[in-house]
């Protein structure tokens, strides 16, 4: 598009200070991930433990609920709960609602992983621990946890990185994180290609190093 000198300028091009704007937004993406991933992991490990000890009763109640969280698109969950919280009288802002939904979403994914980890430890090993005089909780803490963790670390990393990226969906209910910030910038600059590329670089910079570090850790543990 050509612009004559006398025309009013509606759009201003992408400038260096906008990188800072996106960087801040990336910080908010990291914040929501840093809250929901550890929270969801702890909750998910607990759910996974419940599933592994409760048999069919757990599988048909808790298991079913967690299964729903895994089988319904996150974007639907976000819209659904963002509209549901006010109905039951606790209106949450986008950040709070997003964090809560992401946390439960994470916990549903981690529960399956944690259950796999617990079941990866052979019963004989656990019996041996008990017969050495360990209590049930000592067995869980010193036998099941270390062995199971090594078995499912790659799966957990996949979940964590998935949630980090899926946090982009919180933009749909109005929280200004990295993706939403890029959209805002695009409205001003009209340079979608460039800005989405920059946002992609930010996401890559968040996700790729974690993937590599976890891979390294995995290899290190294999040689133990």
């Amino acid at each position: 598009m050509e612009q004559s000198a006398s025309s009013i300028q509606f759009f201003t091009a992408f400038q260096l200070s906008d990188i800072w704007f996106l960087g801040e937004a990336a910080g908010r993406t990291l914040l929501i991930a840093a809250l929901s991933i550890p929270g969801g992991t702890v909750l998910g490990i607990f759910f996974g433990w419940v599933l592994s000890v409760s048999g069919w009763a757990g599988a048909s109640s808790l298991g079913l609920i967690l299964d729903v969280f895994r089988s319904v698109p996150l974007i639907i969950q976000l819209i659904l709960f963002f509209n549901f919280f006010p109905i039951i009288g606790i209106p949450l802002d986008p950040f709070q609602a997003g964090t809560v939904v992401l946390m439960f979403y994470t916990s549903a994914l981690v529960a399956a992983v944690a259950r796999g980890g617990i079941e990866a430890v052979e019963v004989i090993t656990r019996r041996a621990a008990r017969s050495l005089g360990m209590t049930y909780w000592q067995d869980l803490r010193y036998i099941v946890f270390p062995i199971g963790l090594r078995a499912v670390l790659p799966a957990w990393t996949g979940v964590a990185l998935g949630v980090l990226k899926d946090s982009a969906l919180v933009s749909v209910i109005g929280y200004v994180e990295l993706l939403r910030a890029s959209q805002i910038l695009i409205i001003r600059t009209q340079q979608p290609f460039l800005i989405f590329a920059v946002a992609g670089v930010f996401y890559f910079a968040l996700s790729f190093p974690i993937a590599r570090i976890m891979e390294r850790l995995e290899q290190k543990w294999q040689n133990d």
């Binding site: 729903v68 089988s71 319904v72 698109p73 996150l74 974007i75 639907i76 969950q77 819209i79 659904l80 509209n83 549901f84 109905i87 039951i88 009288g89 990185l161 990226k165 899926d166 946090s167 982009a168 969906l169 933009s171 749909v172 993706l179 959209q183 695009i186 340079q191 979608p192 290609f193 460039l194 989405f196 590329a197 946002a199 992609g200 996401y203 890559f204 996700s207 790729f208 993937a211």
Partner: protein, 222 residues
Amino acid sequence: MDYTFHWRPVFRRLPELLEAGLLTLEVSVLAMLIGIFLGLTLALIKMSGIRSITWFATSWIEIARNTPALLQLFFVGFGLGAYGIHLSPFLIVLCAISFNNAGYLAETFRGGFQAVPDTQLKAARSLGMTLSQAYSRIIIPQVMRIVYYPMTNQMVWSVLVSSLGMLVGFHELSGATQFEASRTYRIFEFFAVTAVIYYIIVKLILGASKLIAWRFFRNEAG
């Protein structure tokens, strides 16, 4: 709680929603098929070890896996628009999910091929099989078995990701739901029913996958 649920407007629109559900299924199955083809190609390129083309496969795979699917969708939908490439909502969603699927499936396939020991190929060859026989009768069946479960997961993921289509104006299940919900303001009710439909679609896929696995893998040991 002073909110009254109104489910009737939703049920009146149920046929539209179910039809949109078919569109969801259509686009995600297509994206899966294209993803399998591209993913296999990328995996073979990456395993070929030819420097001049592996960088291409590697960057495709890493970008697809390390950026959000939504960003990829917006990139195809709006980013490419800057260069005058305007696709229909259906094509935007199809391209973006295929791109994403291909990246994940490439790693799945690569893992599958690496899990089958080289000696299998040598053994098959020494028994007098030609290269293509060895691949089609010894290697591929074993790889298929390894990648089958991850592929099923990817298919489910494909369905779930297609819901992002609502953000680029595509009227698949989520888009149609949003459209209907905004006409009646029954947002919660509409999305609750849609969640149920998604759950059923996912369960149908998992069921079909089990059936296929039973048909093809039941006679094999292990």
